[in-house]
């Protein structure tokens, strides 16, 4: 035990399962949890939609809500849940010295404007001039700010007053891994005492689906659990909307505030390029695991990497729970979500129910859990969570 251990004192979660740690844990521990699916809106694709949220609970000013699209609102909301959970929300001194790392992609485009330009482009000889004319006239000026990657962090600063520092990492699932890894390293080295880290992803928007489908990554046809999509149509990803934010603190900082600690965040191992099974096995070995443990896996459903991860986990004596079967793929939020669920499991001393029929039961004591996220195209990471 060390004063500079990295501990988790706040968790903010939103997904199709609900909002907050309580609803999520309840949903994850019922016998045979079921996914919430929307099969119709984006057919032939299935998505896990957002639950009903009252944005005003975390974003009181309507003017702030109006400046954001759903991705930023969702992240600001989930960040607020995490700050509330850690007892930091509204504490000016703590927020003003709090560091922040957000993992982000881009925000939603204006589909109406895009569609109208695409349609008009069919009957014009000069598409570039058309583009200038329409974008100049039709784009809402402040939409740019709802699209900029670093403006989720910007909105969190404005709404929740977190202003110690603000950094935004980009790069799909890997951004979430780097965000957690860097956050933990800063606390462990004394560069930071308390830090807000996380991401949100809003998939219920055709432009967001397009980024996957340019590479043929989306699953089509009947829904199947994340481990069983190899033989189905499409590339294996069923995406979901959601967000996950964590408050990380040094043990000393958390104990001085008398806060409840969910779990200690141990070693984080990350990989560049496109890791294979041998590399995943090596990364798991860096976590110094011994015995049988639970793995909260962010596996995407994309065949090669999902199979490689599953084999490596099982070979390392880990029992996987693939939460994508219940939440869908949350992109940048994938790793923060995995770490959050692993921390919840450790704090409850219990495993979630099997998230798909093929998953093995987990019995025995739970004082440690592994979180994973390996990207559909590149990058990946694993982390060990243990009892505080």
């Amino acid at each position: 035990m060390s004063a500079r251990d990295v501990v988790i004192t706040g968790i903010g979660l939103v997904s199709s399962l609900g909002e907050g740690t309580g609803q999520h844990w309840q949903q994850l521990t019922v016998d045979q949890p079921q996914p919430t699916l929307d099969r119709d809106r984006f057919t032939p694709y299935t998505v896990h939609p957002l639950p009903q949220l009252d944005w005003g609970l975390q974003i009181p000013k309507r003017s702030d809500q109006r400046q954001m699209e759903t991705w930023q609102r969702l992240g600001t909301y989930a960040a607020g849940l995490a700050l509330d959970d850690a007892g930091i929300k509204g504490d000016e001194a703590l927020c003003a010295t709090m560091d922040m790392i957000v993992a982000a992609g881009g925000g939603e485009r204006d589909i109406t404007v895009d569609t109208s330009i695409l349609e008009k482009s069919q009957s014009t000889s000069d598409k570039e001039v058309l583009l200038n004319e329409r974008l100049t006239t039709d784009l809402r000026p402040t939409l740019f700010l709802a699209q900029l990657s670093n403006l989720l962090a910007g909105n969190i600063s404005i709404v929740h007053k977190v202003t110690g520092s603000s950094r935004t990492f980009m790069g799909e699932e890997g951004a979430g891994v780097s965000a957690i890894e860097t956050a933990a390293a800063r606390i462990r080295s004394g560069q930071s005492t308390h830090l807000l880290v996380g991401a949100s992803y809003q998939t219920e928007h055709p432009d967001m689906l397009l980024n996957y489908e340019l590479g043929g990554y989306l699953h089509r046809g009947d829904w199947a659990p994340v481990w069983d999509r190899a033989k189905a149509q499409g590339g294996g990803i069923v995406s979901g909307s959601g967000g996950a934010f964590l408050v990380l603190e040094s043990r000393e900082h958390a104990e001085n505030r008398g806060r409840k600690i969910y779990a200690k965040l141990g070693r984080v191992a990350a990989a560049g390029a496109a890791p294979d099974e041998a590399q995943i096995t090596h990364m798991l070995s860096e976590l110094d695991l011994s015995g049988q443990h639970l793995a909260i896996s962010g596996a995407t459903g994309v065949e090669t990497i999902t199979d490689a991860e599953r084999s490596a986990l099982v070979a390392a004596g880990l029992t996987p729970r693939g939460f994508n079967s219940l939440t869908g793929h949350l992109k940048e939020a994938q790793f923060p979500f995995a770490v959050a669920l692993a921390a919840l499991a450790v704090s409850h001393g219990a495993a979630p129910a099997r998230m798909a029929s093929g998953e093995a039961p987990f019995s025995g004591p739970l004082d440690m859990a592994v979180a994973t996220s390996f990207g559909y195209r590149r990058y990946g990471g694993v982390a060990a969570l243990s009892r505080a």
């Binding site: 694709y45 695409l118 000069d126 100049t136 520092s165 980009m170």
Partner: protein, 422 residues
């Protein structure tokens, strides 16, 4: 030999390689010659038609093979060119052996590609049509061009950097943040060296229109080279530009051990987020003031320790006013005797690259003993009482520099750069 740890006992971070590309040219030599000659790289836009646009000038990089081939391709080439120069200067080979921090713009599919996808399919409308076309084309290059992690992955493979490369955005402060992340990694002892790159090749019609709709851009189209007028009374916005810069950061101990030439020291970094507004600074300037103070404190420097300020100096009415407020608050009366110039008067605003580009120019400033001017300073803003090194370069012995970067979303990042300790 002096100590290799700083005033807080942390490893001192040296710079052993620098590379840069802007509208003024490729490499340090070309850029420095133009910059000290007061030459502007701002020119009329030729990459796309300018019909219906309020701004028709920019500092785009139009002379590279990837120019005009889209945001992702040009950003990658700008980053790679700068990194090659920096790594060669550092005397390191193909296997860099430390982490990569890349500041780059958010990525989106190009309109040309959207049009092409849309034309190839006829039986559906709107985005459903794009989705079907995307699925049937399965074009890997198009896919990779839409992935935020792609450029850093490609650079990492090319230069042999270690681990999961970090791609970041803090808007117009991104380049400074990339350097800061590298400094922090070396101070933590995670690596002896790090590669920090800022690159931005994202000047598309849509990007220009977005900034234009926020009234952020200069519309002095008639004389492009005179459009960027930092600290002038008649400044009316920034000039959108492209560029790339790379810095090889290395612990001073490691640099000396391998006999590398030390080009300077990354002595301190400071940052503070602003909670006031998405595009405007808090009226009292307190976040920018706090960021400057934090950089000085991190560097162990007092206000007498800074000999020159490489300003953010965008030429927008708001930025230059707020930057003056923060500098005059931190430095007090002394600010009148500290030269403050803006490279953006010549190269425009290179956005995600700016912090890195201007850090490279700052090291050259110390090395050469020459302050690049603020050009187009014909009508001083009487409310901004600064020595902006007007219009003509000046010789000066500079030991330490403050380099400022401020961005949308309340991003404020400041770097304190110094010569190698004797």
């Amino acid at each position: 030999m002096t100590s290799t740890v700083d005033h807080l006992g942390r490893p001192i971070v040296a710079v052993t390689g620098l590379g840069v590309v802007t509208s003024l040219g490729v490499g340090k030599a070309e850029n420095w010659a133009a910059l000290t000659a007061g030459k502007s790289g701002i020119h009329p836009i030729t990459r796309f038609p300018t019909d219906h646009l309020r701004t028709t000038i920019s500092g785009m990089v139009d002379f590279l093979p990837s120019s005009g081939k889209g945001n992702s391709a040009l950003t990658e080439e700008l980053a790679a060119k700068a990194a090659e120069e920096a790594i060669a200067q550092a005397g390191l080979g193909k296997d860099f052996g430390g982490p990569l921090f890349l500041a780059s713009p958010p990525i989106e599919m190009e309109w040309a590609d959207r049009f092409a996808l849309y034309s190839g399919q006829e039986d559906e409308e709107g985005y459903a049509r794009l989705l079907t076309a995307a699925r049937s084309r399965n074009d890997r290059a198009l896919f990779e061009g839409s992935q935020f992690g792609y450029i850093a992955d490609a650079l990492s493979a090319r230069f042999g950097t270690r681990g999961l490369p970090i791609t970041l955005s803090t808007a117009c402060a991104s380049g400074a943040t990339a350097i800061q992340l590298g400094v922090e990694a070396i101070r933590r002892g995670e690596s002896d060296r790090a590669l920090a790159i800022g690159a931005d090749g994202s000047a598309s019609a849509e990007a220009l229109i977005r900034f234009s709709l926020l009234s952020a851009l200069s519309t002095h189209n008639e004389a492009p080279e005179k459009a960027s007028r930092p600290f002038s009374k008649d400044r009316d916005g920034f000039v959108l530009a492209e560029g790339g810069a790379a810095l090889v950061l290395e612990s001073l101990e490691s640099a000396r051990a391998r006999g590398a030439k030390v080009l300077g020291i990354l002595q301190g970094c400071g940052e503070r987020a602003d909670d006031f507004h998405r595009t405007r600074s808090k009226p009292d300037g307190s976040p920018a003031i706090a960021a400057v103070k934090a950089a000085l404190e991190d560097a162990g420097l007092g206000i007498d320790g800074i000999d020159y300020v490489n300003a953010h100096g965008t030429s927008t009415p708001e930025n230059d006013k707020m930057e003056h407020l923060s500098l005059s608050t931190v430095f007090g009366e002394r600010i009148k005797s500290i030269p403050v110039s803006s490279n953006k008067s010549m190269i425009g605003h290179t956005l995600s690259a700016a912090g890195a580009v201007e850090a490279v120019f700052s090291f050259l400033t110390m090395q050469e003993g020459v302050l690049p001017p603020t050009i187009n300073y014909d009508h001083p803003d009487p409310a901004i009482d600064l020595d902006v090194v007007p219009n003509v370069k000046r010789d000066a012995d500079v030991r330490a520099i403050l380099s400022n970067s401020f961005g949308f979303g309340g991003q404020n990042a400041c770097l304190a750069l110094a010569r190698e300790p004797n």
